[in-house]
């Protein structure tokens, strides 16, 4: 099929456009909005859309600029026949006319059907979804604007049937898979997917997986039944063993008990013997004790008797010594009496001498005191003379006014002040002298006589006739205040002088001088008096008087005691002589007294010593006698208890014999005890008790085991473990069998499935290779001679195209290619498919590229011209629409230029 021309009227922006197509290569150039895409859409709709179409799709075709219904006319050839197609899209009234040149004409529905037949398509119909269905028509040949880079595999898939037929034809004798093949392969694929996961493992829920699970649980059940049975059997063994253990243990227990009985009896015998031994030992000890006591008593008695005798011997020498001592003592006491008397006398003499001496001393003191008294008496008289003189001067002073120096100074100061004040007053006051007046001149309240001078000391008014003058004395202090001061001072001075009874200041000065003279005299006398120390002198004098009186009184007292006899001394020296003499008397008498006292003391000590010695002897005698008494009492008691000597001897003999008998018995009992081997006996008992205990424990343990085993064996009968084991075993065997069957079944399915896959792969290879080779021829002009295409075919569908380039590793899937490369690869695929499908269409088909290489760079577009040209050379009708016509000049195509806006035109055609 080949397009020859198209005329488009009232179709969107086209009012009436006619385009003539080159049979091989047409380039439709035009700027944006020049209506390129509209043109190809109009052609496409003429071919595939019913003329009676309505609704949105028709509305979209109508022109907003031009009146009339859209209309498209096409001229095309199919084989040797040329056809003219005219579709007038006027809604339900739309018309379609198809006529073969020089042949028949079809109208309406018939025309539509005939057209679909010529194009080899199913009519797209109308109604809902027409957009999509329309778009799918010849989608492999019609590259709409913006779809240049879409995956061409989908178009291949859409044309699957025809494509495969062509490929089968091209690929050789290989048969295509049949529908039955497909269904059976699909059936096994489904079965396989039902059984296996992607990783080839049994799928959950599959027969194989459940057989495996069943097998596992049957095995588990079998193992459980086996182990339960094993436990039962073990319990049986345990039970029997325990029973045997109990039997044996009971036997040995009985024997041990018998032995223990015998041992216990022997131990009881031993106990009795030991008790006997103890009693006998105690008895023997008692006898021995009594024997010892008897011997002890004997020994004690004789010892005491010996001691009593010794005491008696020692007593008589002591008694004669005592008598001697009594005599010596009497002599000594007499001598002491004599010495005491001598001593008394010496004491009396010494006393007397001391009193004589005391008197002498006091007399000496009286003399001395009298002398001191006289001297002091004279000093007191002198003092009194001075005091009288001072009094006289004071009296004179008292008669003068008592003007002190300070008072005088004050007065003199006042006097000077008054003088100064007066001088000031006179200096300040104006002096008025009336020299002459006809009229009486009055000043103040008095009249001034002519020639009179008047000192005006204060403001005065002067009147003379009708003349009145006021005089203001001026300067310094006011004259009034000066006058006041002067009078004040005068008052003060007067007052002071009046107080003193004086007339003038000079008198006062005189008085003061006099007073000073008297005062000086008083001071002089006072100093002399003070030098005499009147106070203490008077005091001493008083004391001397008292002392003298006291001393005299002492003399009188002593004199009384001594009595008359001694001459009263004449003077102090004599008194002193007397004192010395009396002292000598005292010394001599005191020496005598001491001598007597000393002798007395010596004697007294002797008496004391003798008396002590005598007392000691006396005590010694008393002690011995006491001891003797005690010994004799003891002997008496002892004899009373133990009897006399004969009785005692008989008793001792009896005890000795008893002791020997007891010893013999004890020996026998001990021998009997040793015979029983007590140490071993205890050990035996312990050992046998241990044996019995162990036996009991063994039995108890075995009984527990037996009970436990019995409990285990005591089945409740709800099921039979043996039967269960048999069931489980059979179940396991069955599960095993089923598992093997399931595995075999799964393997068989896997095998068939894999074989189908292998077959399909092989088949796919047959189909995909020629397509890939065809695509490769279209790729190489752009990507070089090493580039290669790989077509992916799964036995039913083409699923994709991959590009292999020498400079890149591996095959690149379409998705991974860049936008430009995708456009170029997609173009190659479309050209390949179109070339293959063209066989069904008289060897040619138009292929439209509307702005299909928008992402390709100019170099690639330039290379693409070779690809497009190759398609044209192989019989395809290449129609390229572009707004960059310069890029396609290398195609060498007929160029049709669409102006951006036109009213009514045929496009400009130009052969390049």
């Amino acid at each position: 099929m080949r397009l020859q021309s198209a005329r488009v009227r009232s179709y969107r922006l086209h009012q009436d456009l006619t385009v003539e197509f080159d049979p091989h290569r047409t380039l439709i150039a035009g700027d944006n909005e020049s209506g390129k895409s509209t043109l190809v859409e109009a052609i496409h709709r003429a071919l595939f859309l019913k003329a009676t179409v309505t609704g949105a799709i028709l509305a979209g075709m109508r022109s907003r600029i031009y009146t009339g219904h859209p209309e498209v006319e096409l001229r095309f050839t199919v084989g040797d026949d040329a056809y003219h197609l005219r579709k007038h899209f006027s809604g339900q009234n739309g018309t379609a006319t198809l006529s073969r040149i020089a042949g028949e004409t079809w109208q309406g529905e018939e025309a539509e059907e005939r057209l679909a037949d010529l194009l080899g398509v199913e009519p797209a119909g109308g109604g809902r979804g027409i957009d999509k269905r329309l778009q799918a028509q010849w989608a492999h040949l019609w590259v709409w604007q913006g779809q240049g880079g879409e995956d061409p595999a989908q178009y291949a898939a859409a044309q699957q049937h025809q494509l495969l037929q062509q490929l089968q034809r091209v690929g050789g004798a290989v048969a295509m898979q049949s529908a039955l093949d497909g269904r059976v392969a699909e059936h096994f694929a489904r079965l396989y997917d039902g059984i296996f996961t992607r990783s080839g493992k049994p799928k959950a829920g599959s027969a194989l997986a459940s057989a495996e699970a069943e097998h596992e649980s049957a095995q588990e059940r079998f193992q459980q039944a086996k182990s339960r049975m094993a436990r039962l059997e073990e319990a049986m063994g345990t039970f029997e063993n325990a029973r045997e253990t109990i039997r044996q243990a009971n036997a040995s227990l009985a024997e041990a008990r018998q032995q223990l009985q015998a041992t216990t009896e022997r131990l009881e015998g031993l106990g009795r013997l030991r008790e006997q031994e103890r009693t006998q030992r105690l008895e023997m000890e008692a006898i021995q004790g009594r024997l010892g006591a008897a011997e002890e008593a004997d020994r004690k008695i004789s010892e005491l008797q010996e001691r009593a005798q010794r005491l008696q011997h020692a007593l008589s020498p002591l008694q004669s010594e005592r008598a001697r001592k009594d005599q010596s003592l009497a002599d000594l006491r007499e001598r002491v009496e004599r010495a005491r008397k001598g001593h008394e006398e010496a004491k009396e003499r010494a006393l007397k001498a001391r009193r004589m001496r005391d008197l002498a001393v006091v007399r000496e003191r009286v003399m001395d005191a009298g002398q001191q008294h006289q001297a002091l008496e004279r000093q007191v008289a002198e003092i009194e003379r001075h005091e009288r003189k001072i009094q006289q001067f004071r009296d004179r002073l008292a008669r003068l006014p008592a003007i002190g120096r300070e008072a005088l100074d004050r007065l003199e100061r006042l006097d000077r002040d008054r003088g100064k004040a007066k001088a000031s007053l006179e200096a300040a006051a104006p002096e008025i002298e009336l020299l002459e007046a006809s009229l009486p001149v009055r000043i103040g309240d008095r009249t001034l006589a002519p020639g009179e001078r008047l000192s005006v000391t204060e403001t005065e008014e002067l009147e003379a006739g009708d003349l009145r003058l006021r005089i203001h004395p001026g300067g310094g202090e006011s004259l009034g205040s000066l006058r006041t001061r002067i009078s004040t001072i005068d008052g003060e001075i007067r007052e002071a002088l009046t107080g003193w009874g004086l007339a003038s200041l000079d008198e006062a000065t005189e008085v003061v001088v006099k007073r000073q003279e008297i005062q000086r005299e008083i001071d002089r006398l006072q100093a002399a008096l003070d030098a005499l120390n009147p106070e203490s002198t008077r005091e001493q004098f008083k004391e001397a008087q008292v002392h003298l009186a006291a001393t005299q009184a002492e003399v009188d007292r002593l004199q009384q005691a001594v009595g008359e006899g001694k001459v009263v001394p004449e003077g102090l020296e004599a008194a002193r002589q007397q004192v010395r003499h009396a002292q000598q008397q005292v010394d001599s008498a005191e020496t005598e007294e001491q001598k007597a006292a000393s002798g007395l003391e010596t004697l007294a000590k002797q008496v004391e010593q003798f008396a002590q010695e005598r007392d000691e002897i006396e005590q010694s005698i008393r002690d011995r006698k006491h001891e003797q008494n005690e010994i004799e009492t003891t002997i008496r008691i002892l004899v009373q208890k133990a009897g006399d000597e004969l009785q005692r001897r008989i008793e001792r003999q009896r005890l000795l014999e008893a002791k020997q008998a007891a010893e013999q018995q004890l020996e026998q009992v001990r021998a009997a005890i040793a015979e029983l081997q007590p140490d071993l006996l205890d050990a035996d008992k312990e050992r046998l008790e241990r044996v019995i205990q162990n036996g009991r424990e063994t039995i108890s343990h075995a009984e527990q085991q037996r009970a436990a085993a019995q409990a285990l064996l005591q089945t409740d009968g709800t099921e039979d473990p043996r039967a269960e084991l048999a069931q489980a075993r059979a179940g396991f065997a069955a599960a095993e069998e089923r598992l093997q069957a399931a595995k075999r079944h799964a393997s068989a399915i896997a095998l068939v499935h894999e074989l189908f896959e292998a077959q399909q792969r092989e088949l796919a290879e047959h189909f995909s290779r020629p397509l890939a080779e065809k695509i490769t021829t279209y790729l190489q002009p752009v990507f070089g001679p090493q580039a290669r295409a790989v077509a992916m075919f799964d036995g039913n569908d083409f699923t994709g195209v991959e590009l292999v380039r020498p400079d890149m590793p591996g095959a690149l899937s379409f998705d991974t290619l860049s936008g430009g490369t995708r456009e170029q690869v997609a173009a190659a695929v479309r050209l390949a498919i179109a070339e293959l499908l063209a066989a069904d269409h008289d060897g040619t088909l138009p292929i439209v590229f509307d702005d299909a290489f928008a992402n390709s760079d100019p170099r690639r577009i330039s290379l693409l011209q070779r690809t497009l040209d190759l398609g044209a050379r192989r019989g395809l009708q290449i129609i390229v629409l572009t707004c960059h016509s310069a890029h396609y000049t290398a195609l060498g195509a007929r160029q049709v230029c669409l102006a951006p806006s036109r009213t009514d035109t045929a496009a400009t055609h130009r052969r390049q």
């Binding site: 093949d181 059976v184 392969a185 059936h187 029997e240 009968g717 709800t718 473990p721 079944h745 068939v752």
Partner: protein, 394 residues
């Protein structure tokens, strides 16, 4: 001296699980058949005017049978009109935890089977008509002769004179070591009884249990066999499914009568398929073999040879029916799938379906050469079926 009659039986094996029977209903039916046999023994005892019934061991299949079995057994024994004396055998030995000591059994025996006496001691039991010398098995295995206690003249001197003496024992005799060993049970080297030694004693009959076929092993010594067979016979000379009515008098040789009690037919059959036509032969043979007794027949079917794909499917359907109809069908199968030339051609020669043809060719190769031909055979069958179905559905 007069004779008395008693029934000698053994190996009832009540409660045997028949675990290999997968269908629970069929399994229950086989188990029930063993209880039903007891009633027939009761009938025989009544008919023959037996004084008592002796069960020579293995009354129960295990020492741990479940309660329903115990109750059913006691009820059935209770219906026997004469005393029943039992010794424990190796299956139901009187050892620790044995069924005989379980309180439930004791209660049920008391309430349902007062005529049942379990002899657990190896001491003479003097009945009115006879003296029973029981040799109970008190352990699972006794290394030695369970009748060893019957030794020395004093044992027999103490017995009352004039009464027939019957030994009741369970175990194998040396002559049968291994001869009756079933697949999974019984070590025949234990519980060995020496029949010659016993026959030399002053006794009148030895009632043995353990061997499931009826069999005399001496002039006075018999295995009664099981009254209801419980396994597929290994040879043709075995005769299970009887009880013995024994007439015995002291000092006289016993008179023994076999009486058939079996209901179930345990059968073995082997068949080899030579070609698809042999399938019809097989069908005829089966029909003949089973006859009208499908419900009572237990069949062990051993198949071999090979069949074409379709014939194999037919065989499978046949076996499916058979399995449902019989009391039990145990198939020991090794039938190869060998597609017929036609079948191979059907699959391989499909120019219109190149994939199926290719896969089929590959599978045929594998089925004949591969190391795992069975999988390939199965795959071939699956492909065959799937193709036919797809064709049918297309």
């Amino acid at each position: 001296m007069s004779r008395i009659t008693f029934i000698h039986t053994a190996d009832w094996q009540l409660g045997k699980p028949f675990a290999q029977v997968r269908d629970p209903d069929k399994r229950a039916a086989i188990r029930k058949a063993r209880i039903a046999a007891i009633d027939r023994i009761g009938e025989v005892a009544a008919q023959r005017g037996a004084a008592f019934v002796l069960v020579a061991g293995d009354l129960f299949d295990s020492t741990t049978v479940d309660k329903p079995t115990v109750s059913a057994a006691c009820a059935a024994i209770g219906r026997i009109p004469v005393p029943v004396l039992v010794i424990p055998g190796n299956h139901d030995h009187g050892g620790p935890g044995s069924i005989w000591q379980q309180p439930f059994f004791r209660r049920e025996r008391e309430q349902l089977a007062p005529n049942l006496t379990v002899l657990l001691d190896p001491t003479p039991v003097v009945l009115e008509q006879a003296v029973i010398l029981p040799c109970p098995l008190l352990h699972r295995t006794v290394a030695g002769d369970p009748a060893a206690w019957l030794q020395g003249s004093e044992v027999f001197e103490a017995l009352p004179a004039g009464l027939p003496r019957i030994v009741l024992a369970h175990g194998s005799t040396q002559r049968f070591v291994g001869a009756w060993a079933d697949d999974e049970e019984e070590d025949a080297s234990t519980n060995l009884i020496d029949p010659d030694r016993i026959e030399a004693m002053p006794i009148d009959y030895v009632a043995l249990g353990d061997w499931h076929g009826t069999l005399p092993v001496g002039t006075r010594t018999w295995y009664a066999g099981t009254p209801e067979p419980d396994r597929f016979p290994k040879g043709t000379d075995q005769d299970p499914g009887n009880v013995l009515a024994v007439r015995v008098g002291h000092g006289m040789p016993p008179e023994v009568e076999r009486i058939r009690t079996a209901r179930l037919a345990w059968r073995r059959m082997a068949f080899q398929f030579t070609d698809d036509a042999s399938l019809d032969r097989f069908k005829d043979e089966i029909d003949r073999f089973i006859g009208e007794r499908a419900v009572e027949t237990l069949l062990r079917l051993e198949l071999s040879g090979s069949l074409g794909i379709e014939a194999h499917t037919v065989l499978e359907q046949m076996l499916e029916s058979l399995e449902a109809r019989l009391a039990w069908l145990r198939i020991v199968q090794d039938v190869q799938v060998a597609p017929t030339d036609t079948e191979i051609a059907q699959l391989k020669e499909r120019p219109g379906d190149p994939l199926i043809a290719g896969v089929a060719a590959s599978l045929v190769d594998r089925a004949t050469q591969d190391e795992d031909p069975q999988t390939a055979q199965l795959a071939l069958r699956l492909l065959h079926v799937a193709s036919q179905q797809a064709e049918g559905g297309a």
